[in-house]
């Protein structure tokens, strides 16, 4: 661990972690992590999914107790707060109560009381007003949170977090859902906070932002701190290097990519100039038989919205989608399935399967009409036969076909959700996060199965993911950045290149699109 240079000697340390180790079962989530943040500093905390970032945040906020190591707050020892009150946390997901006013949300965990033990509303509003005042937002004191703008809600969250007296503020993806102006305002306010001696730990996937607001950075990888440095003189690729690591950066995919499509083949899926509100702009892709194309981007870049629109789950405003030259009706999943599109939703628990339903039924629920007898009832033997094929193709481990899907392991649940997408024998597959939240061996098995089926059935496959490691079968991958396609990479690529590309940084590579419309930004 290198020390941060240029720090004035007089500055006190706000937060000090020494040798923090945390295990979950046999997994070492944090391995002797040490970190020091000075008072009034804005420190970026970066790491890829699974690097240990969330565990570290939980330790700092007091949600988790480490097995080894110490956590200290030297600068605030005299203020009499419990250690779990010293760090105020604002998470990406709102924790506000929408139907209460901004003031009540701010005092929610410590209502001022009068002598009768009832809420002292006057004091509550005064307290909220003085906190909001620092943000120039005292006029929203009595507004209902549900009526507020995204930035105002974020401000209310920060005020509530600081209302308990904490001097360290942890911001987790604070700009998610904010537009450019709101983001700038937030950054401006953050710098004012630091001038008052508030220390900020800043977590974001958007590395560009980090350079705008942070002075120093700590990067975790595999449960270890791999870099702590001043951001001065560093560039986005340097951070990506540290986050990905040399091994992963050098490693190419283990499953060979499918052959690039024959350019003479007519495309099966054609998406042209798809537009959804201000979320997705001008999204076009053509996929040919037996071709697997990736679509990568950061959370919130619009990639899942594009996937849902192709699947008929969401409506879109502009553009057209066609399968084998025939237009696909918009906003109707069943007609998209009939048109030949199979879809795996990005979150299997939210929409991939019905928990208390047999695997056999979950996998076949989209194709029941093909399994009926003349009087319109399902033929159980036909359903069983269809599922038997799916189950063996995906190697689903289950005690019986009747077993409830909720009883399976995560990997096998995901295979049931995938089987559902494949059940209609689609010409086009849109697979969002196909291996999210499954263990390593299941991941390998899923990726192989997808590649094998796409190759043998000559389907057109679009893999949509925020995880750079999910594109192994793809012969090319499209990069989505803030709602637009900014480029395309051809296999082979490294995770490092993808990790930089989703930051909007295509480097020297030839894949960047020359799009006159994007040059304005």
């Amino acid at each position: 661990m290198t020390t941060v240079e240029g720090r004035p000697e007089t500055q006190r340390t706000a937060l000090r972690l020494e040798g923090i180790t945390k295990r979950f079962g046999t997994t070492l989530a944090l391995d002797s992590v040490s970190m020091e943040v000075a008072e009034g500093e804005v420190r970026a905390l970066l790491g890829r999914n699974g690097a240990g970032k969330s565990t570290l945040i939980s330790v700092v906020t007091g949600l988790l107790t480490p097995e080894e190591g110490t956590l200290a707050f030297p600068a605030g020892e005299e203020d009499g707060l419990r250690s779990d009150q010293r760090v105020a946390c604002v998470y990406q997901k709102s924790t506000l109560v929408p139907y209460l006013t901004a003031a009540e949300n701010i005092v929610l965990d410590a209502y001022p009381k009068n002598r009768a033990g009832l809420v002292d509303w006057k004091a509550a509003r005064e307290k909220a007003r003085s906190l909001l005042d620092e943000w120039g937002a005292e006029d929203i004191v009595d507004a209902l949170v549900e009526d507020l703008e995204p930035l105002q809600r974020k401000i209310v969250e920060v005020c509530r977090a600081l209302g308990t007296g904490a001097r360290i503020l942890l911001l987790d993806e604070p700009t998610a859902g904010l537009d450019g102006d709101a983001t700038r305002t937030l950054f401006h306010r953050m710098s004012e906070l630091t001038r008052q001696g508030i220390t900020i730990i800043y977590v974001s996937h958007y590395l560009e932002e980090v350079f705008e607001v942070c002075r120093t950075v700590t990067i975790v990888r595999d449960g270890r701190v791999v870099m702590t440095d001043s951001l001065e003189g560093l560039r986005v690729p340097d951070l990506v290097d540290a986050m990905v690591g040399e091994e992963a950066a050098a490693r190419e995919s283990q499953v060979p990519a499918l052959e690039p499509a024959d350019p003479d083949d007519a495309p099966i899926l054609s998406v042209s100039r798809l537009g959804i509100d201000d979320v997705v702009t001008d999204f076009s892709v053509e996929i040919r038989p037996g071709e697997c194309v990736g679509l990568v981007g950061l959370e919130g870049s619009g990639l899942f919205e594009a996937a849902r629109a192709i699947a008929g789950l969401d409506r879109y405003d502009q553009g057209a989608i066609s399968v084998r030259g025939r237009p696909v009706p918009r906003g109707d999943v069943m007609r998209a399935i009939r048109a030949g599109i199979g879809f795996l939703p990005e979150d299997r628990h939210a929409s991939g399967f019905v928990p208390e339903m047999a695997n056999e039924e979950n996998a076949t629920i989209s194709v029941l009409n093909r399994l009926t007898s003349r009087i319109g009832l399902i033929r159980p033997s036909a359903r069983r036969a269809v599922y038997a094929d799916l189950s063996s193709a995906w190697e689903i481990k289950q005690s019986s076909f009747d077993q409830y899907t909720k009883e399976l392991s995560g990997g096998n649940q995901q295979k049931v959700a995938l089987a559902r997408a494949f059940a209609s024998k689609p010409d086009v597959l849109v697979l969002a996060n196909p291996t999210a939240g499954v263990d390593v061996s299941a991941k390998a098995s899923i990726v192989e199965s997808i590649a094998a089926r796409v190759a043998s059935d000559r389907t057109a496959c679009l893999i949509v993911s925020t995880d750079e490691s999910e594109f192994e079968p793809c012969s090319r991958v499209l990069i989505m950045y803030r709602g637009r396609l900014i480029g395309e990479l051809e296999a082979p690529w490294t995770e490092h290149v993808l990790a930089a590309a989703v930051q909007g940084d295509l480097g020297e590579s030839q894949g960047a699109f020359e799009n006159p419309e994007t040059t304005e930004s």
Binding site: M334, S351, S366, D402, A455
Partner: protein, 348 residues
């Protein structure tokens, strides 16, 4: 392509939870059968005239017929993830509208064709269902509060158009339903059996039936799988309204009259029977056969209470206590507590 040649990974399945096999499912459907048998034996031993064929068919089953039909419809709505409290008011208003349109004796008598009058009752049920369905499905309002408001509104209508009177001038077809029988079995009992059988097959084997389960079990997953949840929601409420109207006609036929308080309070018993029969209020769970056993159990208990010496003013309280008891017995937590009391070796 050489993917099959690549490493075949052996997955470590985490400690597998107990699988639910088809047989366990069937056993769960019939979980109430032992209780029904016990209640039957108790009734047969202690209550004179209980275990006679005539009592069983023309009292227990016939009295349960209206309840049973209503429970089947409500169960399907519950499986789909919704409530329809307004069913109770449709049971009252549909026959009231019919008789009000049909009879000149206290009604407006504008519809002299009895079949048209009957049709108007069913159409009313459909319209009420459509409104409920649009409010819940299209506008995303809460089914509980929408159908509660509808219940209050329609019950008010029933009282309003009837002026509190009782009508006995029913269309002949409805009147006949009340005393017709086939081979000595009352027609309403046959209707009940038929409705249960059709609904059970439909919910188990018809694609739409399975889609209703999927919607109630996870609406987003159902939508992503291509199920048109809006259309199905509206369809469920229309179905519920029409069946409730039909149940109202059956009830009027039974008592050979339409009263202004017809159907009042039946919704509580409908929910009690469905839940005792294993239908979950969370949606997606339970079966029609299970719900039917719930109806049978409540019908037997009510019959026993009527036949036995329980003072009539205390019947409701006793009935309520028994429903509460049945819910306790059916609760997995309570069963878990009891199974802890039994030594492990005896449980096998």
């Amino acid at each position: 392509m050489s993917y099959s040649a690549l490493t075949k990974t052996v997955e470590t399945v985490p400690a597998a939870p107990k699988p639910v096999s088809r047989w366990r499912q069937i056993l769960r459907d019939l979980a109430l059968i032992p209780v029904i048998v016990i209640v039957f034996i108790v009734g047969a031993v202690f209550v004179p005239n209980f275990a006679t064929p005539n009592n069983i068919v023309s009292n227990i089953l016939s009295v349960s017929a209206v309840l049973g039909v209503a429970v089947v419809a409500q169960s399907i709505v519950l499986i789909g993830g919704y409530f329809d409290l307004s069913a109770q008011s449709v049971i009252g208003l549909a026959p009231m509208l019919m008789v009000w349109l049909y009879t000149t004796d206290g009604g407006v008598g504008v519809v002299s064709n009895p079949w048209l009058a009957i049709l108007s009752a069913l159409v009313l049920g459909a319209i009420v269902g459509l409104v409920n369905g649009l409010l819940v499905g299209r506008l995303g309002m809460n089914a509980f509060i929408v159908t509660l408001a509808m219940l209050i509104l329609l019950q008010g209508f029933t009282l309003g158009i009837s002026g509190g009177q009782t009508f006995t001038d029913l269309p002949p077809a409805v009147a006949a339903l009340g005393f017709a029988n086939v081979l000595g079995i009352p027609v309403d009992v046959l209707i009940l059996v038929l409705v249960v059988a059709i609904a059970a097959v439909f919910m188990r084997f018809a694609p739409t039936g399975r889609r209703i389960y999927a919607m109630g079990g996870n609406k987003e997953a159902a939508r992503a799988a291509g199920i048109n949840t809006l259309r199905m929601t509206i369809g469920l409420f229309i179905f519920s309204g029409v069946v409730a109207a039909f149940a109202g006609l059956m009830l009027s036929a039974r008592i050979a009259a339409v009263t202004s308080s017809q159907g009042n309070n039946i919704i509580f018993t409908v929910f009690a029977a469905a839940v005792i029969g294993g239908i979950s209020l969370d949606g997606g769970k339970g079966t029609i056969i299970g719900a039917a056993t719930g109806v049978l159990l409540l019908g037997m208990i009510q019959n026993i209470l009527v036949l036995s010496a329980v003072p009539s003013f205390w019947i409701d309280a006793t009935y309520g206590a028994i429903i509460l008891g049945a819910l306790l017995i059916g609760s997995p937590q309570v069963r878990g507590m009891f199974s802890k009391l039994i030594p492990a070796r005896m449980r096998r």
